[in-house]
Amino acid sequence: MEQASSDLEGQLQPAPLEPLGYADGELEAAVGEKAEGAQEESSGLDTMTENNFWLKKIEISVSEAEKRTGRNAVNMQETYTAYLIETRSVEHADGQSVLTDSLWRRYSEFELLRNYLLVCYPHIVVPPLPEKRAEFVWHKLSADNMDPDFVERRRIGLENFLLRVASHPTLCRDKIFYLFLTQEGNWKETVNETGFQLKADSRLKALNATFRVKNPDKRFTELKHYSDELQSVISHLLRVRARVADRLYGVYKVHGNYGRVFSEWSAIEKEMGDGLQSAGHHMDVYASSIDDILEDEEHYADQLKEYLFYAEALRAVCRKHELMQYDLEMAVQDLASKKQQCEELATGTVRTFSLKGMTTKLFGQEAPEQREARIKVLEEQISEGEQQLKSKNLEGREFVKNAWADIERFKEQKNHDLKEALISYAVMQISMCKKGIQVWTNAKECFSKM
């Protein structure tokens, strides 16, 4: 049986955050020894966090996507795509990899995993999933979820998600994540049995806290502001990029028409014929070159999109902080008010307006025994409240400390990834220019031979 709640509490405590096999372009992650042929019902997460010694490295890949039909929750026929997740363990010595696990998952299961992680690790910036529906499309791209290109890009996105989780120092140790990779049947039930949904904060509560919190940590306020800006600017960039891609596609493809017409024209020309014909061929080459160019750019767009979605993950952490802070502020307020009540009862003075005060005035003071009883209750409540406040304070400080550590980790990752993506964009442009030079040089030669 999973010791769900204690596991979750355990997560909130400062676990030893040793950096483990970061995804370093090599796409590997470290997982405990138990990864190999472990029994599903092994003991809780504590065991994994404390006792394990990372011996082997594993490779995760989402290698295939397949269209399936099945019956959904309301027994209706539906079509969906399933993704094959393969896990390989890599022997240290010779680098050979052995397939240890292989199972199929659909997008909704990924969503469930992510929701679970969001609830159980509110201080972590949880990696985002690739988009559910195709957005920022331009005319050649399809907005259809079943479109093979979309499915392919989503497959890559899902793989990326798993790698991000696997390379996160905290998340990689999660039991449910491990089971996601290894236990095909019953995984959904297992997740639900953890009861994580009960731990989830209601949206309304979170919204309320955001508006009413008085003293959130300034850094989180700034972070929220930053994430809004990030989301806005990346959306804008992606939108315009899609339009630019559309236009560029048009320019290249229209040149293809030259190919056909030159070829037809060459039929009536004696001296010019050959030159025209071969120039026409180069126009065709030019026109078709745009397909690969824009496909590469689409991967670049996906890299930016990941960080667009990360903005929401950042906001989630901020919201949690606001919630905890508000909770704390409410507890302080509550304690203060109880203390005051107590004081008033003890001294018999009524400093502030209260119903009790009113009734006392109207109906006379209550009996001393009643008053004593009430004071006792209040004193108990105050004592309890002070305990709770202490632990809430501790929790809050721990949260801020851990969250901020992860945010720093995230910032470094973001700076590294975005810089790499931007540079890869420049590399793509260079490649496009080189192709262009080659085609037009060839065409020019043909033209000059006419």
Binding site: V251, W265, M272, N415, C433, A443
Partner: protein, 398 residues
């Protein structure tokens, strides 16, 4: 090769001084010699300074035409006149009349129907001015047309002189009459068209089709490039905006924005190359192809005239002696016309090849230059991103 054609021909093309009387071969040989020694170009024409001319009845544009020449038959060595589009139309008409089977250079269209609201739009006037310049220079370069009297008058006469000159010669009505007869008889002319002209006609038909398509494609490319340019202009600055919230990525983001801006400028330059060179060149040949069809028709008409007389003789309609005499003259006329066309056709094809070749070669050159500029921009940006690890990665990708 050009010389050979003319020397072989027994009768020369219709001379401009007296439209109906052929001149001796000798005088034509002298003209050819001038043409071959292309360094001895002795007629330089420029068209510029479009100006609006307003009267109570109408408004029109006049263009300044400057002619510099060393030719004896011109009274002076330099002339400056102003002409309007109508005057160009008149000149073209006169040339066609005098040389029905020569390939007269085309004039720019009267109006451009699509996408043009006002006649006096700046781009329209500029394009027209350049086309008119081309028109006059093509005539100047033509071995026969360059000596046409109406051409000379056009280049040199003052406004009132031109008006009075225009009033001479066959009037509008008689030309209209000719057209009606022409339509009726050209059908017959097609039936008896010699093989080589069948081939020529076939070429013209296909050429006309293809050049029209190329014209459309080229215009479309320009349009797409313009829209691409507009989007790129918006794309670059977003990176600058982003850099405001990313401390560590400022240089990279601003670098990219700057590259995009530079590529935008390169696009602009490439586009203007397109609109100044390729588009007008291709369009001129679209107009030429229409011209050529007209020339074929006129050749067919001339032949039809002969054929109808021959037919009349065969069926003994009318005075046999008179008909025989007329047929004799018409046979000469047909042979003259055919030879003129044949020679001019070869010349035209040669020019067309050169013009198309150079227009597309230049276009390819512009595109190469465009990509080279962009390449240099991005490569120099990449070298500023000095992270060694990343550079290794990018080299792998390349």
């Amino acid at each position: 090769m050009f010389e050979l054609d003319f020397l072989d021909a027994s009768l020369m093309d219709i001379n401009s001084f007296s439209p109906m009387m052929p001149t001796s071969p000798l005088s034509m040989i002298n003209q050819i010699k001038f043409e071959d020694e292309s360094d001895l170009k002795d007629l330089f024409i420029t068209v510029d300074e479009p100006e609006s001319y307003v009267t109570t009845i109408e408004t029109f544009i006049t263009y300044r035409i400057i002619t510099k020449t060393s030719r004896g038959e011109f009274d002076s060595s330099e002339f400056e006149v102003r002409r309007r589009y109508q005057d160009f139309l008149w000149l073209k008409g006169k040339l066609e009349e005098a040389h029905p089977t020569l390939i007269i250079p085309p004039l720019p269209e009267k109006f451009i129907v699509k996408g043009m609201v006002e006649r006096f739009n700046d781009d329209f006037i500029e394009t027209r001015k350049k086309a008119l310049h081309k028109f006059l220079n093509r005539i100047a370069d033509h071995p026969t047309l360059t000596f046409n009297e109406d051409f000379k008058v056009f280049l040199t006469a003052q406004a009132w002189e031109l008006s009075s000159h225009k009033k001479q010669g066959p009037g509008l009505l008689s030309r209209m009459g000719q057209t009606v007869r022409a339509v009726a008889s050209s059908f017959r002319g097609v039936k008896n068209r010699p093989e080589e002209f069948m081939e020529m006609n076939n070429f013209i038909e296909i050429f006309s089709q293809k050049i029209n398509l190329i014209d459309k494609i080229s215009q479309r490319i320009y349009k797409e490039e313009r829209e691409y340019f507009e989007e790129m202009k918006e794309y670059g600055p977003i990176h600058v905006l982003w850099s405001a919230s990313e401390e560590d990525l400022v240089d990279t983001l601003k670098g990219i924005a700057s590259c995009i801006e530079k590529c935008c400028k390169a696009t602009e330059k490439q586009m203007s190359g397109l609109s100044e060179a390729l588009l007008p060149a291709v369009h001129e040949y679209v107009l030429y192809s229409e011209m050529l069809m007209g020339v074929m028709k006129r050749r067919d008409q001339i032949q039809a005239e002969l054929d109808s007389k021959v037919e009349a003789l065969t069926y003994r309609k009318g005075d046999t002696d008179l008909l025989t005499e007329e047929i004799g003259k018409l046979e000469d006329k047909v042979e003259c016309a055919n030879n003129a066309l044949k020679a001019d056709w070869e010349r035209w094809k040669q020019n067309m090849q050169n013009d198309i070749k150079s227009a597309f070669t230049d276009m390819a050159e512009e595109n190469i230059h465009y990509y080279e500029q962009c390449l240099a921009t991005w490569e120099s940006f990449l070298t500023t991103q000095t992270d060694l690890h990343i550079e290794e990665d990018s080299e792998d990708k390349l």
